[in-house]
């Protein structure tokens, strides 16, 4: 009898598997004048993985402009002469476990890769603002963390708790998301059934926390400058302009500044 139950359960599972809710979701990621693909792999009851493909980078058309000054007063170069071969840059991977609230990223320091762990506790605030994207009614949700404010448009009509980059925790798929300065913009482009394997080449990588990662990166940078200074009779003056992009102030930095 018990075996029969198990059999039924197995059979049931088989049906469930046949009707998979696994999707490959492609976003376009806009930053400055660059556009690249960011692919999100969603599997039932598994962490989502986002794969940002560097080689897919295409410069977007910007009319009669080579530079602009962004909100932080930093000069951002748009294009200019010469082209960068992005195919040589490493791809970015992000794994988000929304049940355990854990984020893992594959990042490098001078071509040495680490598995970097991170954790963000979101408190999304859903506004009454809605807009239609294709046939979907999207709600605007806002949240802030790490010195930046974010807005995400999600639709409950695609009930997948996932989104681009580190964003998740909304009752529907995030269709568009950006920060207050539009430093990076993600826009949903494609949703397909998932047939491929989920890429996340994290085997044999050392696991470190994000704070450790930055510490290591700073050390590597200092070592680089020190080498520069010892090689040549020069002195290097560094000006820290502050951080641009999506994350600007980290929790541990807040504490040190308070002290």
């Amino acid at each position: 009898m018990k075996n029969l139950q198990l059999l039924v359960l197995l059979f049931f599972c088989q049906i469930m598997l046949a009707q998979t809710n696994d999707y490959k979701i492609t976003y376009k990621r806009f930053e400055g004048n660059l556009k690249r693909d960011a692919v999100l792999y969603v599997k039932e009851n598994q962490p989502t993985v986002m794969h940002i493909i560097m080689a897919s980078t295409v410069p977007t058309k910007v009319i009669k402009d080579t530079t602009y000054i962004n909100e932080n007063g930093a000069t951002v170069w748009k294009g200019g002469s010469g082209s960068t071969d992005y195919s040589k840059f490493p791809d970015e991977y992000l794994k988000v476990d929304h049940v355990a609230n854990k984020i893992e990223m594959i990042r490098d320091i001078s071509k040495k890769f680490f598995l970097v762990t991170d954790e963000i506790n979101y408190s999304w605030q859903i506004t009454n603002e809605t807009k239609q994207i294709q046939n979907f009614t999207c709600y605007k949700a806002i949240t802030s963390f790490r010195g930046n404010t974010f807005e995400a448009w999600f639709t409950p009509e695609i009930p997948i708790n996932a989104g681009p980059w580190k964003w998740y925790g909304l009752p529907g798929l995030i269709v568009e998301a950006t920060d207050k300065d539009q430093s990076v913009v993600f826009k949903l482009e494609k949703v397909e059934k998932l047939i491929d394997d989920v890429p996340f080449p994290s085997k044999s990588l050392t696991k470190i926390s994000l704070q450790q990662y930055f510490k290591k990166a700073d050390e590597a940078m200092d070592a680089f400058w020190a080498e520069m200074e010892s090689d040549r009779i020069i002195s290097v003056t560094k000006t820290v302009l502050g951080r641009f992009g999506l994350e600007r102030v980290y929790e541990w930095e807040e504490n040190t500044t308070e002290k």
Binding site: T66, Q134, P156, Q182, L188, K190, V191, K193
Partner: protein, 722 residues
């Protein structure tokens, strides 16, 4: 006492418990009673707003806290299942609600979905955005101070603002313009604190329907106001008074309100400490560009001027002694969605004083003399300005703009000169009345083609009265004069019509074509009088009573060809003129026809290396002062006279240049070759005597000029001392 305390505590606790949240609990299962995990649960109000949300756990259970009361809809969504809703009424009595959802499997699968997306950042190309807070060092008071901190923006002494090398068109507040070219009244008065962003709009078009059609190098600034300052009246007032010094004061105040519906800006100021809080308003009065129109630069110019002594070694603002008052009120009100009205009023008074005392001894060989000079100069200025602008959006592609400007000014200049004990008093009064009416209709079709119908009428009266209690012209007149005066009446009316076509081709080339007719009527009447104790005379040839009318029927066209980074534009203007010059004695007419062609090219070798060249032939009609056949007094001892007939002057110029520059680059290089040939030119012939000068226009054959210009600059960084 403890009793009340406990009661108080009790009440507090009860209110706390009353405020405590209601819990909405439940489970989500499939038809087969299997728990469904990771389903999203939404609590929506009746207008479909999401109030709270949660997810089911591995056992299919959810629990959501809510503070709201009333009737709600609980919605459960899960991929592969039908959406399900249950309504629930939450009251304060019940703290827990239990709901069970049994979801039907859905046959609808999320088919391959493709969304067409556009680049969200692309439009930034023409707009540079600067965070106002980022560029603030907390020492700024007004907008102008903040703008000085922004790279690429320079603010000149008189308040003119330039971005890179281009003077900006206007300074807008949240997209609305108050003062157009007189923006300095805003930037010199508005506090910088309410600003959120400063935006530099490049390739700017004053007429919104021309955006993307015309080739524009214009730049405008837009100031966005922080949300916290929207929809409320705010202002500032600053008062300064010199306690130790003599009676010196400075008062300025602003009151403003920027809301989505209407915008108001009131500013006033008075000071006698030499501060200029108004800046140059001439362009706002006479040539505002907010409405595309014709006849720019057509207003009258003063025939006589009177300037006092200036302390050349000291900066102007250090020696300025003044008494300035101004008040300005402006409002922008959208009457309906389509009709927007702007009203700007300005009233200003300014008194400027200057004095200069000098004493000099000359002792060379046997020559010895002393000179003492005392000069006092006073200038009184009154100026009033009213501008009404109505913009009516007939439809998305049609716009009607009506602008009226009325401006009146009064200037009195006094000059009191004592030279070696001999006193001379000079006085010049100038009154200026300017009334301007513009109507422009813009129609855009197929998104690329625009026609502008422009009509303008203005009248300008500029009478001047000059007198001097001395006669300084030696033996120019055979009359023993003690004093003289000159009474000038100078009037002009202008009327014009133009149809202006701008057709953008599929390959982004622009065809422009204008046809129009302009009519100018200028009349001049001067009475020049010499006095002595007994009698007065009016010398012949020094009295003017003439009128000059000019009709100009013209057609202009231009075309720009583009190949990648190479651009060639050709332009031609054909004019048929109807000149007529009438005095009491004679009447002259001439109807010349001429064509002015020009061609120029630019090649952006790289974005920072630019190669350009141009060639043009230019014919010019004679202006009033060159046609007039009598002597006109221009200062205390000089006269000028025109040709007495019409001539057409012409010249041609060519230019080739190469430049390397970018505002962030420290190296700049430019090389220019110029050639110009003047075939027929007008110049002046002056008879200068010890005490007087008579100047006459003469017509000459000009010559050729060649020029080469090379400049190479490298800007060093500030040297650092370690």
């Amino acid at each position: 006492m403890p009793k009340t305390l406990s009661t108080l505590l009790f009440i507090l606790l009860t209110t706390f418990s009353l405020k405590a949240q209601t819990i909405c609990k439940g489970t989500v299962v499939s038809n087969a009673k299997e728990p469904i995990s990771n389903a999203s649960v939404l609590i929506k109000d009746t207008s479909d707003n999401i109030l709270q949300f949660g997810f089911t756990n591995a056992k299919g259970a959810f629990s959501i806290n809510t503070e709201n009361e009333g009737s709600f809809v609980v919605e459960v969504n899960k991929m592969g299942f039908e959406k399900q809703q249950q309504s629930v009424v939450i009251t304060k009595d019940k703290k827990e609600y239990h709901l069970t959802f049994t979801l039907e499997e859905s046959n609808e699968v999320l088919e391959d979905l493709v969304i067409e997306i556009d680049n969200p950042i692309q439009q930034r190309g023409d707009t540079l955005s600067y965070g106002a807070k980022t560029f603030s060092t907390c020492h700024e008071v007004v907008v102008e101070d903040l703008l000085k901190n922004i790279p690429g923006i320079t603010v000149e002494k008189d308040g003119k603002i330039k971005f890179e090398d281009t003077e900006i068109e206007k300074v807008m507040v949240d997209g609305d313009d108050f003062f157009n070219r007189g923006y300095s009244i805003l930037t010199k008065n508005m506090p910088n604190k309410p600003l959120d962003k400063v935006q530099v709009l490049r390739n700017y078009s004053n007429n919104k329907l021309l955006k993307g059609v015309e080739e524009s190098n214009k730049v405008a600034l837009n100031l966005t106001v922080d949300e916290a300052y929207k929809d409320l009246w705010f202002g500032d007032i600053s008062v300064g008074y010199g306690v130790v010094s003599e009676n010196r004061y400075e008062v300025s105040g602003n009151l403003m309100n920027f809301s989505k519906k209407y915008k108001n800006f009131l500013t006033c100021g008075l000071n006698n400490v030499g501060i200029d809080r108004v800046g140059s308003l001439e362009s706002m009065f006479y040539n505002n560009y907010e409405v595309e129109s014709i006849g720019s630069g057509g207003q009258l110019y003063q025939l006589m001027g009177l300037h006092g002594a200036r302390a050349s070694q000291l900066k102007d603002h250090r020696t300025r002694i003044n008494n300035a008052e101004h008040i300005s009120l402006s409002s922008i009100v959208p009457v309906t969605e389509k009709l927007k009205i702007k009203a700007v009023g300005f009233l200003g008074f300014d008194e400027n004083y200057a004095f200069n005392n000098s004493y000099s001894i000359t002792n060379v060989g046997t020559t010895y003399f002393e000179n003492t000079e005392k000069n006092q100069f006073k200038s009184h200025l009154k100026s009033g300005y009213v501008n009404l602008l109505a913009t009516y959006d007939v439809s998305k592609t049609q716009m009607l703009q009506v602008s009226s400007v009325w401006n009146q000014g009064n200037t009195n200049n006094y000059n009191d000169l004592t030279f070696n004990e001999k006193n001379t008093l000079e006085q010049l009064q100038t009154k200026n009345t300017f009334f301007d009416q513009k109507v422009t209709y813009t129609h855009k079709w197929k998104g690329k083609n625009v026609v502008l119908l422009k009509a303008r009428y203005f009248s300008n009266k500029l009478p001047q009265f000059y007198n001097i209690n001395d006669y300084l012209m030696g033996d120019l007149f055979s009359f023993d004069a003690d004093a003289m005066n000159n009474d000038i009446k100078n009037d002009k009316t202008f009327a014009g019509l133009e149809a202006d076509f701008k057709l953008k081709q599929k390959n982004n080339d622009l065809i422009e074509f204008q046809v129009g007719y302009e009519y100018n009527d200028q009349s001049m009447n001067t009475v020049f009088k010499l006095f002595n104790n007994a009698t007065s005379i009016l010398p012949d040839e020094f009295q003017t009573d003439s009128s000059f009318t000019l009709g100009d029927l013209y057609a202009k066209s231009g075309y720009t060809w583009k190949w990648n980074t190479f651009k060639v534009s050709g332009r031609a203007e054909a004019h048929q003129l109807f000149n007529s010059f009438t005095t009491l004695q004679s009447s002259k007419k001439q109807n010349p026809f001429y064509v002015n062609p020009s061609v120029n090219f630019t090649w952006d070798v790289t974005p920072t290396h630019i190669f350009n060249g141009s060639y043009m032939v230019n014919f010019n009609n004679t202006s009033f002062v060159h046609v007039n056949d009598t002597y006109l007094l221009t200062s205390s001892r000089s006269f000028s006279k025109g040709l007495g007939r019409f001539v057409l002057t012409d010249y041609q110029t060519g230019n080739l240049g190469y430049s390397i520059r970018h505002y962030l680059n420290r190296y700049r290089f430019s090389f220019n070759l110029n050639y110009s040939k003047q075939s027929n030119a007008l110049t002046n012939r002056s008879f200068i005597e010890q005490n007087s000068s008579l100047s006459e226009s003469v017509f000459i054959k000009g010559g050729d000029t060649y020029g080469a210009n090379l400049s190479s600059n490298f800007y060093f960084r500030k040297l650092k001392v370690t």
